[in-house]
């Protein structure tokens, strides 16, 4: 799909597929086109080109059929400031044929004691949780969550992750945007990284981060990495960054037992005891920064 705002192209030939019973995470720097993409799927704006089908329906033409089947959590706001949390959910529940029990749902998102608190007097994280409860209230088949855990404390974040996991387990399709790589790594079956309105990576977290191609350890600063590199199989790379943190990479490959033996032998020759020695794949954050660069975005 394509979406332009005047001369600026917000979404530029982006392709995205999400499946039922899966969590799809859309990652991207600020201004990458995440919210525009989600809002096109929600029917808030029309794409300038391309085809959008949500649950097999056109988000704008078939809005009446689609809206009851989709739950939406906006990035911010959307709830009348003076309305108490419980009353807001009660009203919204009258829009659906088989809504969840609102008292139960308030309990699930930890707002039972705030049922009578007006939205504007809830903390940022509590407002997010109320908004999340509203998104799942009508037993939707598909839920869009736009940065659901922004502003949440760690407890609320974990509670939200539990809720997303429960939705997924019950066959609900979840599409979420996030800036938290850990969130995507934990929750998502399918990760789409977008930048400048284009898909730059698409796959499971495991395929994106690749095989275990990194060996990290900590030791005294200033060891001679050139001699370390000479002791390693060809194609390896070694660097110290920051001081005392050593990283050995096998680009495109996996760390083999021989490499580990070579590193520990090299350390033993120098009477160096490595600590925190880990063999791992790149994190999603490594992949993200590699694909989208380190420049600050607006």
């Amino acid at each position: 799909m394509v979406k332009r705002y005047g001369p600026a192209t917000a979404v530029d030939g982006l392709t995205l597929t999400a499946a039922a019973g899966e969590v799809t995470a859309i990652l991207g720097p600020n201004g990458a086109g995440k919210t525009t993409t989600v809002e096109i799927c929600e029917g808030y704006r029309a794409a300038d080109a391309g085809t959008v089908r949500v649950l097999g329906l056109d988000p704008i033409q078939d809005a009446v059929k689609l809206k009851p089947r989709v739950g939406v959590m906006l990035q911010a706001g959307g709830i009348p400031p003076a309305v108490p949390a419980g009353e807001y959910l009660k009203t919204l529940s009258r829009f659906h044929v088989k809504p969840h029990d609102t008292a139960w749902l308030l309990d699930i998102v930890g707002l039972t004691s705030n049922a009578k608190t007006p939205y504007k007097r809830l903390s940022g994280g509590q407002q997010q949780r109320l908004s999340l409860a509203a998104a799942v209230l009508g037993r939707p088949e598909l839920v869009f969550l736009d940065e659901p855990t922004a502003g949440m404390d760690p407890q609320a974040r974990h509670a939200t992750w539990d809720l997303v996991t429960a939705l997924r387990g019950d066959g609900v399709a979840v599409i979420l945007t996030t800036h938290f790589m850990e969130e995507a790594e934990r929750l998502a079956d399918h990760v789409v990284i977008i930048d400048h309105g284009k898909t730059v990576a698409d796959g499971t977290p495991a395929t994106l981060t690749g095989s275990a191609g990194q060996l990290r350890f900590r030791a005294e600063p200033g060891l001679d990495t050139d001699s370390l590199l000479a002791a390693l199989p060809t194609g390896s790379a070694a660097k110290e960054s920051p001081a005392g943190h050593y990283l050995i990479e096998v680009p495109g490959g996996a760390v083999q037992p021989a490499l580990l033996a070579a590193v520990t032998a090299w350390c033993a020759d120098r009477a160096v005891l490595p600590s925190s020695l880990r063999i791992e794949s790149r994190t999603l954050e490594d992949v993200f920064l590699e694909l989208t660069g380190r420049d600050l975005r607006g």
Binding site: G78, A82, E87, R94, K98, I108, R139, D170
Partner: protein, 264 residues
């Protein structure tokens, strides 16, 4: 409790939109509660009209002329003011802030359609107007109001009020849907005060220069107060000019709102 302990299957999809009437009723109840809980809105819709009714009818602050008792002159004007305060000022401010806070946007993602939302707002305005009418009429009767009306008033009063409500609502939504919330607040209050002054509410239009009078009677507030006064104090059967004036304002207001209203 968190979702971790939820029995599998509790979130199994079972979507479906409730019947439209149920959605409209739920939304209207919510909006009516919001208005009745909001102090500023209540000041506008109830306290100011009642204060004017009581103060101007008990003390000879103005000579109304035309052979009316003070309460007989004031009651129709205050009803017109009450309609304007609810359908125009209060609705413009509430809707302007709903737009600003993304409430309209979020409602756009629910099964309640936009025509359904407009219907809920209409029901809300009419519910508040009925409450205002009941209180104003009871107090007016207690002060000694004795309407001089033909039997046709049972039809013409609701007709005038409905046309006035439609006209004011159209312009309320036009302001709320095009200006920033703060600008809507300022404009709606300013227009309220000006129309209170020149709309024949408490100051008779006969006090204004002769040349200005026909124009003032063509303003929605002037047409509504004059029409209600003709029906309730002068036993006019059908105030043709005022009905037509309000109908034109209603078509204009709703047409402009439909054309220019922006939901976000």
């Amino acid at each position: 409790m968190t979702a971790e302990s939820v029995i599998p299957g509790r979130f199994a999809p079972a979507p479906g939109a409730a019947p439209l009437r149920q959605m409209i009723a739920a939304q209207a109840v919510q909006e009516t509660r919001q208005l009745l809980r909001n102090g500023e809105q209540l000041t506008l819709t109830l306290i100011i009209p009642l204060l004017l009714l009581i103060a101007f009818s008990l003390e000879p602050l103005i000579e109304f002329g035309g052979g009316y008792t003070r309460i007989d002159f004031l009651t129709p004007g205050v009803i017109a003011l009450a309609v304007m305060s609810t359908a125009f000022t209060s609705q413009a401010i509430a809707t302007g802030f709903e737009r600003r806070y993304g409430v309209l946007k979020r409602l756009g993602a629910t099964p309640l359609s936009r025509p359904g939302l407009i219907a809920a707002k209409t029901v809300t305005v009419i519910a508040v107007e009925l409450l205002q009418a009941a209180i104003i009429l009871l107090i007016a009767l207690a002060i000694g109001w004795s309407p001089n009306a033909s039997a046709a008033a049972i039809v013409t009063v609701p007709l005038l009020v409905l046309l006035g409500t439609a006209a004011f609502s159209g312009f309320a939504l036009l302001l709320a849907g095009t200006l920033r919330a703060e600008a809507t607040l300022a404009a709606a209050n300013l227009i309220y005060v000006v129309l209170l002054g020149i709309g024949g509410v408490v100051f008779p239009l006969t006090k204004f220069p002769r040349a200005a009078r026909p124009l003032l009677e063509l303003l929605p507030t002037g047409a509504l107060s004059t029409g209600l006064r003709d029906v309730l104090a002068n036993a006019v059967v059908f105030p043709v000019k005022d009905v037509l004036t309000l109908a034109v304002w209603a078509v204009l207001g709703i047409g402009l709102a439909a054309r220019f209203f922006r939901w976000e």
